[in-house]
Structures are given as C-alpha cells and as structure tokens.
C-alpha cells in the first residue's frame, strides 16, 4: 500500500510529499478498507452459521430473503437499525452507552496485525501476537461495564460469567501460543507464517525441504496439542456454544446483553461475530500457516518485495489472491468447525467450565511448553547453547528425534492428565452424592 501511494503521489504527480504524509494516507486507506470489509464478514458469518446449523439439525435455515436467503442478514440489520433504543430508567446512562463501544473497539483494533496474504498486513508489528491478545482482553472491561450499568441481575451475572471465563481461558490460550513462540523465536505474526513453509516438515526446522507452503505447526506434536488447547480456549473466549454460559438464554435471559436493544445490541452481535472470525483467523494463521499453501511461496518470490525490487507486479496480485483465498478458506473452515461444535455439544455448567480450564487445559499446555523447549533444543541448539551431542546429527535426524520425544511426552501427559481429571470428576460426583445423602438424613 505504501508503495502504491508513494508511486502515485511522488512519481506520477511529482508532488514530493514527505514519507510520514504518505504513511498517514496509506494507513487511513487501509483502515477504511478494513472497516468496510469487517461488517460484511460479520453479515456473512451470521448467515453462514444459521444455514450450517440448520443443516445439522435437518432443517433448511433462512432461505426466503433473496436467492437462498443471502440477504437475510441485511434484513436483520435493517430491523436492528429501526428498532427503538431503550435505556432502562435505573441504568447508568453513560456507562450503558459506552459499554458496547468498549466491546467493539478492541475487535477492530485486532485487525491491525492480521495478515491477509503475502505482504498484505496492515501493520507488521514485531510483537503482533502479544498485541492481538492484549487488545482482546480489553473487551472484558466493556462487558463488565455494560453488565453493571444495565442495573439488572441477569446482566450482571452474565458479565461476571463472561469475564471470569475470558480471564481463565486466556491462560491456556496464551500458554499454547507460548509454545509456538518458543519454536519460532518471534512474536511477529508475519514471522510465524513465513516459518511454516515446507512440506509437513517446516523448512525452517530442516533446511532443504521443498516449499509447498505446508510446513504447518499442526503437523508437529507440540503444535497439534497447542492447536487443540488453543481452539478450545478460543471457543471459550468467543463465547461459542459449549462455553456460551455468559449468554445462556435458558438461565440468564441474554447475559450482559439483556438490557440492550436496537443498534447497541447489534454492536454486541457485531463484536461477537468479528471476534469469532478473528479467533478462527488466528487459529488458521498460527497452526495452519495462514496464507501459506501450495504455490503462494513461489508466486511471491517472483513479486516486487523489499528483498526483490526487480520483480513483476503481476505476481504480487496473483500471490495476493491465492494467499487470501487459502487464508479465508482455512478461516471459514474453522468457523464451520465452531458451528459444528455448536451443533454437537450441550452447554457446560460454570463449575465444569472452570474445572476443565484449570485442571486439564492449563497443565496440558504447561507440559506442552516444556515439549516446545525440548523441540527447540533438539532442532536449533548446538554446542554454543550447551547441547553438544546433537552437533553431529543430520537436520532430518534431529527433527525426527524431536518429533518422537515430544510426541511421547505429550501423549503421556495427555493420558495422565485426563485420568487425573476424570478421577477428580468422579470424586466430585461422589461428593455431590454425599451432600445429598447428608441433606436427606437431616430431613
């Protein structure tokens, strides 16, 4: 984007504007494009979810507004806009007003570091991953504010649940990402993606692997476990169905959204779906290579890049289109998995949710971090780091040894923890029976 703007202003028109002005224009342009894309993504996601979940329940879903009901979300949007905006008398007017804003704003911020295709990232921050998760935790404040300001016990309960859930599931999410960050040695999302070239084995781990854009993290034991843990945590953070207790309709009306109507409610809805999209996108990026796929790496090597200024502009476009296609395909696949999970599982109780997060996911991801350290030691370190014995091995050999060791470690940890967890659950059930027994005896 910088290149195009710079070329237009300084070369074509010859205005000779300073770099910061061009940067400003470029960033404003990117932000505008993103703000136009995001609501449409959300509209499509709601439609997609409703159609897919309907299919899973042997129904048809919305199919009357436009061809195959594609304009249903537009109709819903019109409805939202024209609805009356109700603020309860006992509500705290200002906090009630800014609550949805605080919830939506972070989800928009998170797009700043999201790469769409090769060379297509709004801002390549060197701590992009950290930024992503730091900003996502801000929306908890908005939830809390809107839940409290509604002056409604269901809203407050929903907000409490939402925040407790977000805070506890951020830990396994970040721990599973920590393993990946250990392996790549970078917090930049772009670096994470470029790391995942190769064919089942990352070409960054083993040099000389042909680049088919398939060296995804999910093919390693560390990455696989991290993926499972992260995706479960993402379901909890996005308040998707097995973990949708903050807005459990059958228990607490609609949680923190209870007292909202019209477009403020629409903003919550928007934030939720945009967050879901972002979580699917970040899953696709971190564990499934983002825009990496067969052909993109080769196309991008021919294109104009800072490393290759003499490239062909056509390849920029081709690599971009293919990369965005791969990226969106993966993202929508994960959104489909979210819908699939919603169709399959029932809602957890809050104690089950907390048990699962704290007793199973966090120990599992902690073990995974250790596995990641072993992986890094075996594939990257040498005599200088105190690992002299791996010095003579071939890279593929080192990779294979690391694979086997981490696989065994993760499997053992998984089965052990699951056993401990199920025992603790049995114990809890036994205790519940005991309580019941005691109550009966008292009566």
């Amino acid at each position: 984007m910088h290149d195009v703007i710079n070329h237009l202003i300084n070369t074509v028109f010859g205005l000779g504007w300073p770099g910061w002005a061009i940067s400003l224009i470029a960033y404003l342009l990117i932000a505008t494009i993103l703000f136009m894309i995001v609501p449409f993504q959300m509209l499509f996601l709601t439609y997609f979810e409703r159609r897919a979940i309907a299919r899973m329940q042997d129904r048809v879903g919305p199919n009357r507004v436009g061809p195959e009901g594609i304009f249903q979300p537009v109709a819903d949007g019109v409805k939202m806009f024209t609805k009356e905006d109700i603020v309860p008398d006992a509500a705290d007017k200002w906090v009630h007003l800014i609550g949805p804003g605080i919830v939506v704003a972070p989800t928009m911020f998170m797009f700043a570091v999201l790469p769409w295709g090769p060379g297509m990232v709004p801002f390549d921050m060197n701590i992009g991953l950290l930024f992503f998760f730091a900003i996502s935790s801000v929306s908890a404040v908005g939830l809390m504010a809107s839940g409290w300001a509604s002056n409604n016990k269901f809203a407050l309960l929903g907000a409490m649940r939402a925040v407790a859930q977000m805070v506890s599931y951020e830990i396994p999410a970040v721990l599973s990402l920590l393993a990946i960050v250990l392996v790549t040695g970078s917090l930049s999302i772009v670096d994470l993606i470029t790391f995942q070239s190769g064919l089942f084995i990352s070409s960054s781990d083993v040099p000389g692997i042909p680049d088919f854009g398939l060296g995804w993290f999910v093919f390693t034991p560390v990455g696989f476990l991290a993926f499972i843990a992260f995706f479960i945590a993402a379901l909890a953070e996005g308040e998707r169905t097995p973990f949708d207790i903050p807005e459990a309709d059958s228990e607490i009306v609609a949680g923190y959204m209870t007292e909202y109507s019209g477009m403020k409610f629409g903003l919550f809805y928007l934030a939720q779906y945009v967050l879901n999209f972002l979580l699917c996108a970040i899953t696709a990026i971190i564990f499934f290579g983002g825009w990496q796929g067969p052909g993109v790496g080769w196309l991008y090597a021919q294109a104009i890049t800072p490393a290759n200024p003499a490239g062909n502009g056509l390849f920029n476009v081709l690599a971009g289109v293919l990369g965005v296609f791969y990226f969106l395909a993966k993202t929508y696949f994960f959104f489909f998995v979210m819908v699939w999970v919603r169709g399959a599982y029932a809602r957890l109780r809050i104690d089950q949710l907390m048990d699962f997060g704290w007793k199973l996911l966090i120990p599992l991801t902690l073990v995974n971090v250790v596995s990641a350290a072993i992986w890094v030691g075996l594939t990257k370190w040498g005599a200088a780091d105190g690992l002299a014995f791996v010095e003579g091995w071939a890279p593929l050999m080192r990779w294979a040894v690391a694979f086997v060791i981490t696989l065994v470690m993760n499997l053992v940890a998984y089965f052990f923890l699951v056993r401990v967890y199920s025992q603790s659950q049995d114990e809890r059930a036994r205790l519940d029976d005991e309580v019941l027994e005691r109550l009966t005896n008292v009566a």
Binding site: R55, M56, D58, N63, W340, A344, F415, V418, R419
Partner: protein
C-alpha cells in the same frame, strides 16, 4: 439408520482412561452425518437423516382426505340445490355452539320446508372437531381442507351461508373416496328434499338471487320487445385474445345463446325445469373450457412439481371464462348462463388437476 419408533436406545458411556475424548468425537460424527445427509430430502420420515422441512408457502403438505379444518356446506353442482335440510343435528352436536340455523318457510303456505334460510358458523370459536360433519344425516356439512384463514377482521370469521356454500365437485376434489362412500345416499336424500322445496328455496344463495333477478328481467322483457343478446358480448373485451380466452368466450357465447333461446314467456316456470337445457349448455362450455385449459397447460411432463402450474393455468382459463360469461350476461342474457360458465370453470379446473395428477 432406521430406528424403530418407541424403542429406547441405551448408549454405553464407556468410561475409561484410554477412551478419553472419544465420546466428544462420536458426538461430532453424529452431527456430521446429519449435515451430510441434510442435502437430500427426507421423504418417508422413517429415516433419521435428510431435510424434513416442507417449505410452506412454496410447497404444501399433501393433506390426507380425512383432514379436517373448518366445516362447509355442500350444494349440488348441476341443480344448485343445497344438501342441507336445516335439521339442526349439527347445531346440537356442536360443542362450542357456533352453528346457528334458520329454517326456510314456504312463502305461500307458511310451512317449514327442508332447507335453511340462513346458516352461520362462527369460525373464530369453531374448534375443528368435525362432530357436525359426523352428525349430519344428509352429508350436507363437510370438513374443508382450507387452512389459511387468518384475517385482521374478527367479524370476518363469522361465516354466513353464502360464504359456506361449496359445490359437491369441490368436495370430491379434496376427498374423493369419502364422497364416494356416501354419494348415493346423499343424492337420494337430496332428491327427496328437492321435491318438498318450492320455487328457489334451497338453491345456493348466490344462484337463487341471480335466478330471481333474471326472472324479473324476463318479465320486463316479456313486456318489451325481445333484444338480441349476442350482440353485446364482443363489446367488453377488446384487443388481442389468447387462444384459451377465445375458446372460453366461445363457450360463454354458446351458453348465452342456449339461455337466450329459451322462450321468455316461460319465465314463471320453476327453476328446476329450466335446468336440463342449461345443463347441456354448461356441459358444452365445460368441455370447451377444459380443452382450452389443457391447451394452456401443455407442460412438458405431467410430473408432480408441475401440478401447481397446470392448476394455475386452468384457474386462469376458468376465471377468464367466467369473466367472458359475465360480459355476456351484462347484455340481457340468461342468468343461469353464468352459473353454467362457473360450473364450466370448476370442471376445467378439475380436469386440469386430474390431468396433472
């Protein structure tokens, strides 16, 4: 997977360390199977996969013949005589007591005759139990299949006799087997009650009014000179005419001629005596209209999904025929012509339906 209804499937929980997480995957598998299966239609309802949805405004459920919604009154297609004799059996049987009947009297003698003067059913309170139809000894009250009754006017749900009257042919179109069972007895009883009905009493309301109007007119004409009834017919519709429209108009004109050929002096004669000639004309018109409808509805294959189309075309032709007949009737024409044309329309619709099926 076929499941027997009423069977309880006990799932094995399979608790164990090595199977941890398998239950979750099984759940996903079940949902996946439904997702994959949902892309085909589930027709026989014994399957658990496939889409069950009947997309209502576009598709309708095939209703069983014995389906019952709201009660209607039947009258004979050819003579227009109502089957109802105002015996009050239905009003007595009605649990919410929404049926109100007034029996007709002979204007000359003041005696009760076996026909209803007014017949009201309050649809808003009717509970579709069908007891009235069961109680009716003359098979005059039957349960309709029409269910799109919602309205913004509650009083619109108070149905008078004119709203309730349906020809027998309509009932045979929705429940042929049920009608076949009772047809003979009903018709025999109808003949019996017709004999005891003087003049136009007992003829479906919208027809008897026409008959009375026509009689007045004929009486007036008898005083004046006889006009040319046909001349006025082509005046109303102008411009291009589609083939089926032409055919319908032809039928209407012929019917008008047949009606007009009746000697005007015979006006005070009973309506029943008028009927044979009219019936002939009506049959003629019906055949023509049916042909026209068939021509209009030349769909490539008489498949089931094509049925609505055929029906629509047939209805269109029927409406046009009725319009043409009305246009002809605007000029001094026999009032029964219109009846004939309407009958023709109904027949055409039936024929089209039969053909499409």
């Amino acid at each position: 997977m076929d499941i027997q209804r009423g069977n309880i499937i006990v799932m094995d929980r399979r608790r164990g360390t090595l199977r941890a997480g398998q239950g979750l995957l099984q759940g996903l598998k079940v949902v996946w199977d439904h997702w994959v299966g949902s892309f085909r239609k589930n027709d026989n309802f014994s399957q658990i996969h496939g889409t069950f949805t009947i997309e209502y405004p576009d598709e309708r459920m095939k209703l069983p013949q014995a389906y019952r919604n709201m009660p209607v009154l039947l009258y004979d297609d050819e003579t227009g005589q109502e089957l109802c004799t105002a015996c009050y059996q239905c009003a007595r049987a009605c649990p919410p007591e929404v049926i109100h009947i007034t029996q007709a009297k002979d204007p000359n003698t003041g005696k009760m005759v076996p026909a209803s003067l007014e017949f009201i059913i309050e649809y808003d309170a009717c509970m579709s139990c069908g007891l009235c139809a069961e109680a009716c000894p003359f098979d005059a009250i039957k349960m309709d299949h029409f269910y799109e009754l919602s309205t913004d006017n509650r009083m619109g749900l108070m149905q008078r006799k004119a709203d309730l009257n349906r020809p027998v042919s309509y009932y045979t179109s929705i429940a042929p087997d049920l009608w076949d069972e009772v047809k003979e007895g009903a018709m025999k009883k109808l003949q019996g009650s017709i004999k005891r009905r003087p003049d136009v009493i007992g003829i479906a309301g919208h027809l008897s009014e026409k008959i009375a109007a026509r009689r007045r007119q004929l009486a007036a004409e008898a005083a004046a000179s006889p006009p040319a009834p046909v001349a006025a017919a082509p005046a109303a519709p102008a411009g291009k005419l589609s083939p089926e429209e032409k055919a319908a108009k032809l039928a209407a004109m012929r019917a008008a001629k047949a009606g007009g050929a009746e000697p005007a002096a015979e006006a005070p004669a009973p309506a029943a005596e008028l009927s044979p000639a009219d019936a002939k004309a009506a049959k003629l018109a019906a055949i023509k209209a049916a042909n026209a409808a068939k021509k209009a509805a030349e769909s490539p294959a008489a498949e089931v999904p094509a049925a609505p189309l055929d029906e629509k075309a047939a209805k269109l032709a029927a409406i046009r025929a009725a319009n043409a007949a009305k246009a002809a009737a605007e000029a001094p024409a026999a009032p029964l012509d219109e009846k004939a044309a309407k009958l023709a329309a109904i027949r055409a619709a039936n024929a089209a339906k039969k053909k499409s099926e």
